[in-house]
Subunit: 251 residues, 2 copies
Amino acid sequence: MSTYLIAEDDVLHRGFLREVMALGEIDCEQVIEAENGEDAIRLAHEHELKGVILDLQMPKKTGVQAAKAIWAENPAMPIIFWSNYADEAYVRGVARIVPAGATYGYLLKTASKDRLRRAIQCVFVEGQNIIDREVRGLQKRGQKGSDELTEVEYEILLDIAIGLTDQAIAARRNMSMRSVQGRLQQLYAKLGLASLPLMSDGRAVFNSRSRAVAMALSSRIINSKTIEIAESEYQQDPERGLRRSAGHQSG
Amino acid sequence: MSTYLIAEDDVLHRGFLREVMALGEIDCEQVIEAENGEDAIRLAHEHELKGVILDLQMPKKTGVQAAKAIWAENPAMPIIFWSNYADEAYVRGVARIVPAGATYGYLLKTASKDRLRRAIQCVFVEGQNIIDREVRGLQKRGQKGSDELTEVEYEILLDIAIGLTDQAIAARRNMSMRSVQGRLQQLYAKLGLASLPLMSDGRAVFNSRSRAVAMALSSRIINSKTIEIAESEYQQDPERGLRRSAGHQSG
DNA sequence: TCAAGTTTTGCGGGTTCCCGCAAAATGGAC
DNA sequence: GTCCATTTTGCGGGAACCCGCAAAACTTGA
């Protein structure tokens, strides 16, 4: 019995996915559906699945959170992420939770029916990883060269985005205030806050801290959802420094 | 010749709208389509339309921006807003640009085909205004009672969201720094920052300024798009105080 | 083990932010 | 005009933030 799970809140998109799965190109005897992240996690737990398609934006839990739970139980589960946007926030969210050697794909909703069909074939049947072209450009990030944010910079960005003070960040990450400020300086530099305009009287127009968040939002490095998740992580575990979770990402 | 315009970037949703329009319940001889805000504005300018359906989230220009342009040319144009979310940010965005006596509707995408059909009938044929139930709860805002934000509070919220300093806000809005800070205090109170947690040593965990933005984001009072728009308004016209645009909203 | 590179930390001080208090200024209502 | 409610402003001080500088501390490799 080969069962697949589709998790997608929008009715039309869900219908579309169902339709493509039903084309009969892959061995698919049953498709079950979820319209929010929690249901997706529950259903994945209750059924023995061959693969999962997850929308990234869903009520209750995001696709990333659902994937994390599913992979925690079965790291070999093939997952296709199916998203509206190629925002760095999403891509980074996915990249952070992919276990080593996992099979997955990242497709945009603008993809044609054909491309989706092929992706399903590749990921679910042949076990290949498929990443949409627009998304791939964002993949190499998190490293360290270039002008992109490193993991620590990203962490501290989220910390100020949820409104923590230097003091609170220092406590949370187990470091001195001065180090926090040092990292913030790095972050500001990366986000291009070095060359901020001044007012006629020579005073600054922008508050670096708030400005950094604004720029990160508008360049899609983070988004509201990212902030909410960071917030709830903080609420659960305010005193904890960064703990590396699962593994690395695979090619 | 009765022509209607549909502006919606998602293919499936666009197809759905087209289908419902084609049910033949209203006198509709032609439906033209746009997949972004700019095209919508252009097409509305080029054609003589009987009505418009606008998705709120589109590339290039948002539905709100498109509506503003369309109404600037013809304030009597019936417009149905068709949105994924009932966020206050969107509702407020629409409420701010509705000209006096305009005919419009606000529907969520979760609405059934039937509800959409009825809304189209009501707005385009009978000239009634239809506001989705979940949305209506947010309508009364902008007034002054209660715990909701007034217009000035909302303005200053956007100012700090784009990263302006007190100084810069004061210059922009033509007031003293102390007044800016006073308004910020109001804002913080409304957003519930009064009762913030303290650290064990009695120091604050949160930076009010950043925290306010975070809370406004997570309670959907503003969103990334709102901030981007505020930003571009600022870029165009940094020195200008608040200028009231068009009219009031109608019943 | 040592040297070279990176990160963290302390110090110091200038700026900005936050906010209580109370005196002006403003805006209606009568 | 007078009276009242609201808003704006100045003052003042404490906290938080930003950042240059240079000394520790940690990493990495040979």
